[in-house]
């Protein structure tokens, strides 16, 4: 065994772990329990059991706890949300390590409902605890997990649009993916919509509730799927483990379409991504645009060998949290920087000017600045410009300008 390749679907209600592209998988509630008297941890069902028996203290909703920067006190010790989540992940990863009798993890990809900076920081920093390098840990959105899962299937499954309903304890979501084939590149776009009609899975315990659930799904189904050509429809989540309650909905979606039920889709999508990250050349040579990835490219006009050229600062389709870049520039006769933002629809291309207020006025070609860009989310770029000076001729004034640019 060379080392484990793990794909996680990490939610507040449940966590799924898929090992080595689906060879083995685990699903467990995202809860952790610490024994009252000693620092011994349990996760999933044993955690519930221990808490019910009164032997330990259980903490749930771990993802939310991290996002809110919350804490929990157990046995007189105050634990941060990130600490608890990392401990939870150590315990879950141990299941796979034990199963495959190895301690080595080669790559992990987490698929999460929403990419949050605190959650990102927590997940990407847990490498040390899991015995691996932080650079081999990546985080993707559920939408991206869906995209990778679908793109890993036979081409006929995603020739046209692909839809997916995800019904779980966390609500009802609809996902849609479409492929735009161009001459130079193929763009894959996926979107997620949280449907307000979402209901608690508990209502399926009664006959009236099941009927109502089916009616709700039928209404959502006909609204989302109307007049569109789908290659396939996926049904995902605990709500679709049994489908006899949703007779009407199944009839609706199965009409002239392939329908697949996959209850570990996000975790598998993450695992496929993890495998792909280890390849020298990606098996998905597409521009992928979805939640967690930039939908616009950011560039700048620069002069090179007497000609106007475009300097690409961030490409559409890259994960926003991995899209940081820094470059040294010399401004010749201008006291501003101009960014060109190009969305998928090129007609909506726009330019954003950033005036370098407070920067020194120097002779031409001697204002050298360091431009650093990063992203707070898919739509917000942070720009930092620092005066670098021009050697001993014009020492740096230390002027710095920080700005957020909405894409």
């Amino acid at each position: 065994m060379d080392g484990l390749i793990l794909g996680f679907d990490l939610c507040d209600a449940y966590t799924q772990l898929v090992c080595n592209q689906g060879e083995k998988s685990w699903t467990l509630p995202t809860v952790i329990c610490r024994k009252k008297e000693e620092e011994s941890w349990m996760v999933g069902e044993p955690a519930y059991a221990s808490a019910l028996a009164g032997n330990g203290v259980m903490v749930d909703k771990l993802v939310k706890l991290v996002i809110k920067d919350g804490t929990s006190t157990i046995g007189g010790i105050r634990y941060g949300g990130a600490q608890l989540l990392v401990q939870f992940l150590i315990q879950v990863a141990a299941l796979a390590k034990k199963e495959y009798n190895t301690d080595e993890i080669k790559q992990i990809v987490f698929s999460v409902p929403r990419i949050d900076t605190r959650l990102l920081a927590c997940l990407t920093s847990c490498g040390d605890y899991l015995g691996m390098s932080g650079k081999d840990i990546h985080v993707i959105s559920h939408t991206e997990g869906f995209m990778y899962y679908v793109l890993s299937q036979k081409r006929e499954v995603w020739n046209n649009q692909v839809g997916m309903f995800d019904l779980s304890g966390e609500g009802l979501c609809y996902y849609e993916m479409k492929v735009q084939r161009g001459l130079r590149q193929t763009t894959v776009m996926a979107e997620k919509e949280r449907l307000e009609e979402g209901f608690s899975l508990d209502i399926l315990n009664s006959a009236a509730g099941r009927k109502m659930g089916d009616r709700i799904l039928c209404s959502c189904g006909s609204r989302m799927l109307q007049k569109k050509l789908f290659s396939s429809i996926f049904l995902m989540g605990k709500g679709f483990e049994e489908r006899d309650w949703a007779e009407g909905f199944m009839k609706l979606v199965c009409n002239r379409r392939r329908v697949y039920v996959e209850t570990e889709l996000f975790a598998k999508g993450a695992a496929y991504r993890a495998v792909d990250l280890l390849r020298e050349k990606s098996a998905y040579p597409y521009v992928c645009i979805c939640e967690g990835r930039l939908d616009s490219s950011v560039s700048m006009r620069v002069l090179y060998k007497d000609q106007d050229n475009q300097l690409m600062l961030a490409n559409a389709g890259v994960s926003w949290y991995e899209a940081a870049k820094e470059v040294e520039l010399i401004l010749d006769g201008q006291d501003y920087l101009e960014f060109i933002i190009t969305p998928p629809d090129q007609r909506k291309k726009k330019t954003v000017k950033m005036a370098l207020e407070g920067f020194p006025k120097r002779e031409e070609k001697t204002l050298r600045v360091l431009l650093q860009i990063g992203f707070l989310d898919e739509r917000t770029m942070t720009v930092t410009v620092t005066d670098q000076g021009f050697g001993e001729l014009f020492p740096s004034t230390g002027a710095v300008l920080r700005q957020e640019v909405m894409l």
Partner: protein, 269 residues
């Protein structure tokens, strides 16, 4: 209006340009000084030392190899410099063509004018000691091609250099000789200012009849005005701030400042 990407590495160990008394850290800085002070580079800056620097510090191995080849084949300095600058992508072709023309016109100068211009550059970079040597060399080697007006200009600049390093007596001698060559009231004014800076000096009697009392009064006022505005200089403000600090910090700051002044003076002289 444009933006240029600095693609090349910055030097960890700078290249010291003796002529200008500055360290060079990037290829853009090197291009800049060549562009603005071509005269300092026409007599052979592109040598093996600089080629090695370009190769090792800027990571421009390919360009360095081509420069090396051109040096070996005996190409003109200005052509090698222009080739290097083109590869740096800092100046446009139009700007480099302008530089080529400037270089050509400098090459057409008389040997004395060329030498004076070089010495003037040294003054610009506060290299007064080296400038004095250069001006004196011109004066020693001059022949009939150097007319009185030219010699007077050289002597004037020589006087200014001596004054900058506080050698007022020598400055006075240089101005005196300059006035002999060309009767310029400005030179007399400078001589008068020297007498104010160094009370041991006095204007020669033969100049007393040229300078009226009224004129002297005006020069004195100008001198005092310059003194007043010097009090507002940044350096003076820094010293004032230093003296407001407690005795320990003041002494530390003063020590540092004096060390800086010493260094500056050594560089100048």
């Amino acid at each position: 209006m444009s933006v240029i990407v600095c693609g090349q590495k910055r030097a960890e160990h700078p290249f010291y340009l003796e002529g200008l008394g500055i360290n060079i850290y990037s290829c853009q800085e090197l291009c800049y000084v060549v562009y603005h002070h071509p005269l300092m580079f026409l007599d052979g800056i592109m040598d093996q030392n600089l080629v090695n620097f370009i190769r090792n510090e800027f990571d421009m191995g390919f360009v360095a190899a081509r420069v090396e080849q051109r040096i070996k084949s005996g190409e003109k300095q200005e052509d090698i410099l222009l080739f290097f600058m083109q590869e740096c992508n800092y100046y446009t072709t139009a700007e480099l063509n302008k530089l080529r023309q400037t270089m050509m016109s400098l090459k057409r100068l008389t040997v004395f004018e060329y030498a004076k211009r070089k010495a003037d550059y040294l003054v610009q970079f506060k290299q007064y000691g080296r400038a004095i040597a250069a001006y004196e060399e011109i004066l020693e080697q001059r022949d009939q091609r150097a007319d009185d007006q030219f010699v007077s200009r050289v002597l004037n600049n020589l006087g200014a250099c001596y004054a900058r390093i506080f050698q007022f007596r020598k400055a006075m001698e240089a101005y005196d000789k300059a006035y002999e060559k060309r009767k310029d009231l400005g030179t007399l004014e400078r001589m008068y200012h020297l007498t104010l800076l160094d009370p041991g000096l006095a204007l020669k009697d033969r100049y007393q009849s040229t300078v009226s009392g009224e004129l002297m009064e005006r020069w004195k006022k100008d001198f005092e005005k310059a003194g007043e505005s010097a009090k507002e200089a940044e350096e003076v403000k820094k010293i004032k701030v230093l003296f407001e600090k407690d005795s320990v910090r003041r002494m530390e700051g003063a020590e540092q400042l004096v060390e800086e002044w010493k260094k500056e003076y050594r560089r100048m002289a």
